[in-house]
């Protein structure tokens, strides 16, 4: 039969304070640890968005990706990748890739843009703004501006 000493009020208070301070200290220390811990993965950074692997794009294939909430159309040409804002400068529809014409086409009012973003035909008043594209470790990164 074991005889247990009753926990005094003072000791109980010390336990509680100790636990609270430990939790507090952990809350402060954990961000520091995660900061100094060696990076496990490398991201493109907030200024770029990945459009996928370079090999996933066939020649003349396109894809629309979201960059800061705005659609951007990425096209692989024989000379490399080009990316443009996918918002038509006429009434703001999302443009698509017309593989037959090899042009960017707006489905709403038949506006067409060439692969430098310039208006080929239709009502758009301005060219599509271009986004920079970089290939890093086989990944297609679209710059935010």
């Amino acid at each position: 039969m074991s005889t247990q000493q009753p926990v005094s009020r003072r000791t109980f208070l010390d336990y509680l304070l100790g636990a609270g301070l430990t939790a507090w200290a952990l809350a402060f220390v954990s961000p520091v640890i995660s900061y100094v811990w060696p990076a496990q993965k490398r991201g493109p950074g907030s200024q770029s968005v990945s459009a996928g692997k370079q090999d996933d794009f066939a020649e003349w294939q396109s894809k629309i990706v979201a960059v800061n909430g705005h659609p951007v159309i990425v096209v692989r040409t024989p000379q490399g990748f080009r990316a443009f804002s996918a918002i038509c400068t006429h009434l703001g529809c999302i443009v698509g890739w017309d593989a037959g014409r090899k042009q960017i086409a707006c489905p709403c009012h038949a506006g067409f843009f060439d692969l430098s973003g310039k208006v080929v035909s239709g009502p758009p008043p301005k060219p599509l703004p271009e986004h920079g594209v970089a290939i890093v470790n086989g990944e297609v990164l679209v710059k935010s501006a």
Binding site: S8, R9, R10, L13, D14, L16, L17, G20, A23, W24, A66, N68, G69, H70, P71, I87, L91, G92, C93, I94, P107, C108, H109, A110, S121, G122, P123, P125
Partner: protein, 400 residues
């Protein structure tokens, strides 16, 4: 021998330049007003001088000998057109400036040109009426009479003159009507130079007022998609038969307003006042358009509300753009009047809007959860404060 040849050429050139310059100087003595206007002209950098237009024989530039006899002012509009064409129809002269050389030929095909060259009508517009006389500027210059924002006023100088237009049985309110149009709003108020002015539809040098059949073709130059879709509508056959004017019947011509759903209330009844079956088609189209637009606006308001709350609505904004694309496509598709074709983008709009609303709801729930999760933190802080206070009291009382 060769030296003598070079000397002769040098002297010849010097004399010619000096003669031309002397002619300029001597013109200025009396024609200061014209000189002030000419100074800003696009002709000055091109080396055009008074004598190029004001001599009967342009090769005779001698300023002093028989100056009065050789100096002239074109005395009729046909002569003006031919005078301008002396350079502007000359490919060799225009090539360095990249200017076309068919203006006179095109002008002759216009109503203006026909009246002048066939009827010798001296009241019609000729080159100088639109481009100016001495102060002719490049069309790209914002001060030019032919600059997009100045074109309505330039055409209006004659086409708003009721007295002049009455002689040709033409309306004199077309420019005023144009100024109330959405096209004019874009050009004159928003400075959108790609939006049409008078010459965009009527042409400039070959200005021919389009007939009923051509109007649709003219509108279709910019509104390509609508023109294509219109061909699928039951109205197309009627238009081909000449009983319906493609675009004008619903949108009018000069006073074209920004198209809205309200147009269905006024345009259709002009022909279908008692045709319940066809008005039912209109009602179905209007219903689909109103629903889609309403859904889009509702979603747009919710996304805006969430963005103002500071939530990251990137994905929802992207979906909203997709919904907008569907609604805009729907607005173009209604030109077919094919209700079944309209259903696909209408349904897609509903689906996308539902996705947007779900996304916004999820974001707002996460935000609420974050706010609620602050309660345990506050509780922890309060408990710790109490514990410290108890500990302090214990120490002060010297309790074991």
């Amino acid at each position: 021998m060769r030296l003598r040849l070079w000397l002769t050429i040098a002297v010849g050139v010097t004399v010619a330049v000096a003669a031309s310059r002397a002619a300029e100087i001597s013109c200025l003595k009396c024609h200061e007003k014209q000189q002030a206007a000419f100074a800003i002209s696009a002709h000055v950098p091109a080396g055009v001088t008074c004598v190029d237009c004001h001599t009967v024989d342009p090769k005779n530039t001698a300023p002093t000998a028989n100056r009065t006899e050789n100096c002239r002012r074109p005395d009729n509009k046909k002569a003006i057109a031919e005078l301008c064409a002396r350079c502007h129809s000359d490919v060799r002269k225009m090539n360095p400036y990249g200017l076309p050389t068919d203006q006179l030929e095109r002008y002759k095909t216009s109503k203006h040109g026909e009246q002048l060259f066939q009827q010798n009508d001296q009241k019609v517009a000729v080159c100088t009426d639109c481009h100016g006389v001495h102060d002719i500027l490049k069309a790209k210059s914002p001060q030019a009479r032919t600059y997009a924002t100045n074109v309505p006023a330039t055409c209006g100088r004659c086409h708003s003159d009721a007295k002049l237009m009455d002689q040709y049985k033409l309306p004199s309110d077309v420019v005023d009507q144009y100024k109330t149009s959405y096209h004019a709003h874009l050009v004159l108020e928003k400075g959108d130079l790609s939006a049409p002015t008078c010459v965009t539809c009527h042409g400039n040098h070959g200005a021919v007022p389009p007939g009923t059949k051509e109007v649709g073709q003219v509108c279709g130059k910019c509104h390509v998609r609508q023109a294509e879709l219109f061909k699928k509508s039951p109205h197309f056959e009627v238009a081909e038969a000449g009983a319906f004017s493609e675009c004008v019947s619903c949108h009018s011509n000069h006073a074209i307003k920004k198209a809205s759903i309200d147009l269905f209330a006024t345009a259709c009844i002009q022909c279908h006042a008692k045709d319940e079956k066809q008005l039912a088609v209109r009602d179905n189209v209007v219903k689909l358009l109103q629903q889609a637009k309403g859904e889009y606006e509702r979603a747009s308001a919710r996304v805006q509300e969430a963005t103002v709350q500071g939530l990251a609505t990137d994905d929802e904004q992207l979906l909203l753009q997709e919904a907008k694309t569907q609604v805009t496509q729907l607005e173009a598709l209604q030109h077919t009047l094919a209700v079944d074709e309209l259903r696909a983008p209408a349904v897609r709009t509903e689906d996308v809007v539902a996705e947007v609303l779900t996304g916004v709801k999820r974001l707002q729930q996460v935000e609420l959860w974050k706010k609620q999760s602050l309660w345990p933190v506050w509780l922890f802080l309060v408990v710790m404060a109490i514990l410290f206070w108890l500990k302090r009291r214990q120490i002060e009382r010297g309790e074991p």
